[in-house]
């Protein structure tokens, strides 16, 4: 077990390193500098700015310097979008907004998706099952921005009499959270319910369910205590990366609802060529996702003791 954990941690560190290097070189390969704006600064200004932010040194030196600073949790300062403000500070003010929306979204996705999946499996072949299947298939076929924009259009004044929610996101008001969370959680909800259905059908056909029935246990006990517990393993596999991704911000949802979250900021930092900000957000988000995956992998063992981690966890 210890060996496995160590191996996985090492793997995570390597992955993070790869992501850092990839981001660094990709970012620097893009033609254009962060100093381009409406009025082009003079050569001397650019040279001075490059020197100030250390952009005149060879790339490998820059990378080394960056890694060294990173070891002290110093992400550098933003050089364009919020000039000279530490990147870490920017991230830490924006992450809570993204995270709160993501957490609500994933919570409703689990609370609705898993029971719906159970229901579909339990009533297999009836109209309930068919209806849920249609909804979920449509749900996973609609890109996030379609759902988000449709909701935005319908409930913020596009349809007469349905203006329930504000168009502009305001932090702290409960009403502003409804639509973004609904849009963000819809896809995971549909996906989860499909996954749960398949896993439940698998579990229901097992011998131990027959035994439980033969013992005369109540249906409720069989479904929730015996079948669901075993069906949850594939569901957790999906949830790990999804939780991380949703918490970090639906890029699309934040853009559509103009939420000042990390996802939207990441997108605009790329187009603004704010190098330290791109690096900072990428590393932060990547580290978060990688750590979440790691935790989920290790949690397997707790959920299902049959899984032998030392043999690759399969």
């Amino acid at each position: 077990m210890t060996k496995y954990v160590l191996k996985r941690v090492l793997m995570a560190v390597i992955t993070l390193f790869v992501v850092i290097c990839l981001t660094f070189f990709l970012m620097n390969a893009v033609p254009g500098t962060p100093w381009l704006s409406e009025k082009t600064p003079s050569e001397a200004t650019i040279a001075a700015l490059n020197e100030k932010y250390g952009l005149d040194k060879p790339l490998i030196v820059q990378l080394g310097k960056y890694l060294e600073n990173l070891a002290h949790l110093d992400f550098g300062n933003s050089i364009k979008m919020q000039k000279d403000r530490p990147v870490l500070e920017i991230i830490l003010t924006m992450f809570p907004i993204s995270a709160s929306i993501g957490a609500i979204a994933i919570l409703w996705a689990i609370l609705v998706g898993v029971p719906l999946g159970c229901l579909a499996a339990y009533r297999r072949g009836t109209w309930v099952d068919s209806l849920l299947r249609v909804i979920c298939t449509i749900g996973i076929s609609m890109p996030g921005f379609v759902i988000a924009t449709m909701l935005l259009h319908a409930f913020t004044g596009g349809i007469e009499g349905l203006k329930f929610f504000p168009t502009i996101f305001q932090q702290g008001t409960a009403k502003s959270y409804v639509l973004p969370c609904l849009a963000l959680g819809f896809y995971p909800m549909c996906y989860l319910s499909r996954q749960t259905r398949t896993a439940m059908l698998d579990a229901i056909n097992q011998e131990y369910i027959k035994t439980a029935r033969a013992k005369g246990l109540r249906n409720k006990t069989i479904i929730f205590k015996h079948a669901l517990r075993n069906a949850l393993i594939p569901v957790i596999t999906y949830l790990g990366p999804q939780i991380a991704f949703t918490l970090c911000g639906g890029f699309v949802v934040e853009t559509v609802f103009t939420i000042p979250g990390l996802g939207r900021y990441f997108v605009s930092s790329i187009s603004n060529r704010d190098y330290p900000l791109i690096m900072g957000t990428t590393i932060f988000l990547a580290a978060f996702i990688i750590v979440m995956n790691l935790i989920v992998d290790l949690l397997y063992k707790l959920v299902d003791p049959r899984i032998n981690l030392a043999k690759g966890g399969e």
Binding site: M11, V146, V252
Partner: protein, 447 residues
């Protein structure tokens, strides 16, 4: 002969002398080629069913998959044949067609409407200040205050409307009061006059956008871009994944270990982040390369477009991992089979065994996974385009059309709904057909 062999005591090693002797008694024509009649009688009663025929038979029974297939083919025709039928091109700016709706009023009705408006408002149009004042009054009636941004928007709209008789704030009221019904499809006034003169004019079925470009053609081109991206990405993923997976699985040992570590690292990279990053960084790099010279490679980039290539590269680099894992797993199972040992004993080389024996035996899974890659690629491409990192203007895609439509969502909701509906329908049908394909090609998986 067969009967004689049956008589042999089972397990005996003694050569059957009678049998060997009887070899000499073979009739003289024993080695002559069989006549057609003899061949006919040899063929079984039922026609032999090949793997693909069998799969097709199963697929045909799956009604959902067949309907999905028909819809996909229709969308394909719409996307690839449509632009040749419609006489407009996706970047053609039609004069006077700015913001026309997918419906129109005939010239007489338009005259009636403007007369009505003139009659009821005195002046044909509100001046910008009047429009703002009116909007403020409306907002106050609703208990809200008009923000400065909205006021500026109204002012600009009123300014733009000045001098245009038929596009008026109260046009809708006039239409309602006069009981005029709108006719389908959009036409500009110039086109309506030409039609009145007896010419036939192709209608703007979905109307036109802010710059006066035909939305239907743009939707067709967008759907085409999506389909091309989907198919090309699936092929790239298939080629890289199949090569990598089969080599890794077949070689095993240290080669496999190293190759699998690489796969694991790529697998754990948060893909959406890297896709966003690569989508936006590769494009300018490729554009610079495209402008750097006139070699054959540069021409290739120009032909395909820097946008599309950057999307292909992104996909090629990240999404082959799942495919390679799947194929490796299959190969690991299959390579233990006797026929592989037999092929190896006969002196076949690794490449031949992979190509002739291993890959054909997991073809069902490969086809299904490749096919299901298409909707997922379309999904991702639309996401990139929506965020403004996919294809760039004047080229369009369904995703970027949706994000363009966000600006005037309340006035022109169909600009969002049309591309969004086609995109969702396309992904839905591809998914459904892919599921049907999986059930048909791999009946073991079906429960």
């Amino acid at each position: 002969m067969a009967e004689k062999k049956m008589k042999r005591p089972i397990g005996s090693l003694r050569p059957d002398v009678d049998d060997i002797l009887s070899w000499n008694d073979l009739p003289e024509n024993a080695f002559e080629p069989a006549s057609t009649e003899e061949k006919e009688s040899f063929i079984q009663d039922r026609e032999s069913v090949s793997y693909w025929k069998d799969a097709w038979r199963r697929l045909k029974k799956n009604k959902v998959a067949m309907v999905a297939m028909v819809i996909v083919i229709l969308i394909g025709l719409f996307a690839f044949v449509g632009p040749f039928i419609v006489p407009y091109s996706y970047d053609q700016v039609i004069s006077g067609a700015n913001n026309i709706h997918p419906w129109h009023y005939s010239l007489e009705d338009q005259a009636k409407i403007s007369a009505y408006i003139e009659e009821h408002t005195g002046t044909a149009n509100l001046s910008p200040d009047e429009a703002v004042a009116q909007a403020e009054a409306e907002a106050a009636a609703r208990g809200e205050t008009l923000s400065a941004v909205d006021a500026a928007k109204i002012r600009a709209a009123a300014k733009a409307n000045q001098g245009k008789g038929e596009e008026n704030v109260t046009q809708d009221d006039a239409v309602k009061a006069l009981g005029i019904k709108a006719k389908p499809f959009g036409y500009t006034n110039a086109e309506l006059e030409r039609m009145a003169a007896g010419e036939s004019v192709f209608p703007h079925v979905f109307g036109c956008d802010t710059q006066g470009r035909d939305i239907m053609v743009r939707t067709m081109i967008g759907a085409r871009v999506s389909m091309i991206v989907g198919i090309c990405c699936a092929v790239i993923v298939l080629v890289i994944g199949a090569l990598y997976g089969s080599i890794s699985g077949y070689c095993g040992g240290k080669v496999d270990a190293v190759m699998q570590r690489i796969v694991e690292v790529i697998y754990t990279i948060p893909e959406v982040l890297v896709i966003l990053l690569m989508g936006s960084t590769l494009k300018p790099i490729l554009e610079e390369f495209q402008n750097s010279g006139d070699g054959p490679l540069q021409n290739l980039v120009t032909l395909l477009g820097a946008n599309l290539i950057s999307i292909f590269l992104t996909f090629g680099l990240l999404y082959w991992v799942t495919m390679s894992r799947l194929i490796r797993g299959q190969i690991l199972q299959l390579k233990q089979q006797e026929y592989v040992t037999a092929a190896r004993a006969l002196g076949a080389e690794g490449g031949r065994i992979i190509k002739r024996h291993l890959l054909p035996n997991c073809i069902g899974q490969i086809v299904t996974t490749t096919f299901l890659q298409i909707p997922s690629a379309i999904f991702t491409e639309s996401f990139l385009s929506f965020l403004g990192m996919g294809v760039s203007a004047p080229m369009t895609s369904l995703g970027s059309m949706c994000s363009d439509a966000l600006g005037g969502l309340n006035t022109y909701p169909y600009r969002l709904f049309i591309p969004a509906a086609i995109l969702s329908l396309m992904i839905l049908c591809l998914n459904l057909f892919g599921d049907g394909l999986r059930d048909a090609l791999d009946p073991r998986l079906k429960k």
